[in-house]
Amino acid sequence: MLQAVALSCTRGERQLFSDVNITVKPGTLLAVLGENGSGKTSLLRILSSLLSPDDGAILWQGQNIRQLKEQYCAQLTYIGHLNGVKDDLTPIENLMVAASVTGDHSSGALVQEALEAVGLKPEVHRLPTRVLSQGQKRRVALARLWLSIRPLWLLDEPFTSLDTAATGLVTERLRLHLQQGGMAVVVTHQEVALPPDAVQRLRLTA
């Protein structure tokens, strides 16, 4: 279970939000909504421990993530605005190297399955990522969700650049993840097509 208590954040000269409290229970997804500049990405980065809040604490299974440090990182998968994908490597190489670095060992077969599951045809798997379209690159980034066995997913506008088909595939994967007891915090502009009792909403106003 992920909890955030009295979070506040100042970026540059603006205070983005203060006294935000969150509880995400297993099997639920928290959708973070709000206008541009309202602090959604900052909130997600705080939850992922990339950014430290001005005030407040984040608790994972009751423990402060500042004490857990690397143990907390082992529990989450974070996909931000940037894809985290090298242009000079092929999608298969990208995912295999990323998996070996993070410790989620994946075989070539599993990686190919993941790429197909996110809608990338096999012909594309061995091309350098440089020649793929934005939408295809985003799919490569999101393919990590099919390889991830971690309970907490933090996704920043995952549906950007995706067409309807891909959006459907990712949403379905999310639904499966929640069904298995996972949690997710998703920053999004659009409504996530999931059962209403699995979704909470947090709206940040600028």
Binding site: R45, S48, S49, L50, L51, S52, E70, Q71, C73, A74, L76, Y78, G80, H81, L82, N83, G84, V85, K86, D87, D88, L89, E93, V97, A98, S100, V101, T102, G103, H105, P128
Partner: protein
Amino acid sequence: MNQPGMWDALRGVVRRDLLLAMRRRSDVAMSVFFLVIVASLFPLGVGPEPAVLRTIAAGVLWVAALLACLLSLSRVFTADYLDGVLEQMLLIAQPLPVLVVGKVFAHWVTSGLPVVLLSPLLGLQFGLEGEALGVLVLSLLLGTPTLSMIGAIGAALVLGVRGSGLLVALLVLPLYVPVLIFGAGAVTSSLAGVGGEANLSLLGACLALSLFFAPWATAAALRIALE
């Protein structure tokens, strides 16, 4: 801290960077060509007198190696910073300093190692022979990893900052000076008949110190840059 996981992560980081370097061999070639060009400028500017060249050889070659390393620093973290791979590295469940050592090692293989391998040829061009040549190679072998480690701190501090090319030079060059002095001094002492051991052991000490402390500083700088 998971021991086997740590080694796997380190290997993975090194493997990724070396794979990328193989795909962009021109980057490595550029370091090599730069070193040769800069080293060649001095005889052209100073005159081809063998005695003069032998005197300035140590300094010139060391400064050229230093500049080659400095110019390649933008390759250490910038690409990863721009495409989001660096962000992911900060979220890996292994100590960041260990991953930094991996990145810097891969960077050294593509920028420092070619310098070390090329140095005997350049040394000969400047009239260095025998023991002095050996000391030159050894000094660069000990010194270039140190330069990479210290340079990584600077590279991490200026990630995404405008004017970072010049700024990193200004930040890093004062820290390079001791290494330069010991490195060039080793060769000069060897030429003078005193033997380069004292300077070489100081170089070794610098390497050990930098291996110990620079990864921590670099990791701190990376976290600051990615907030």
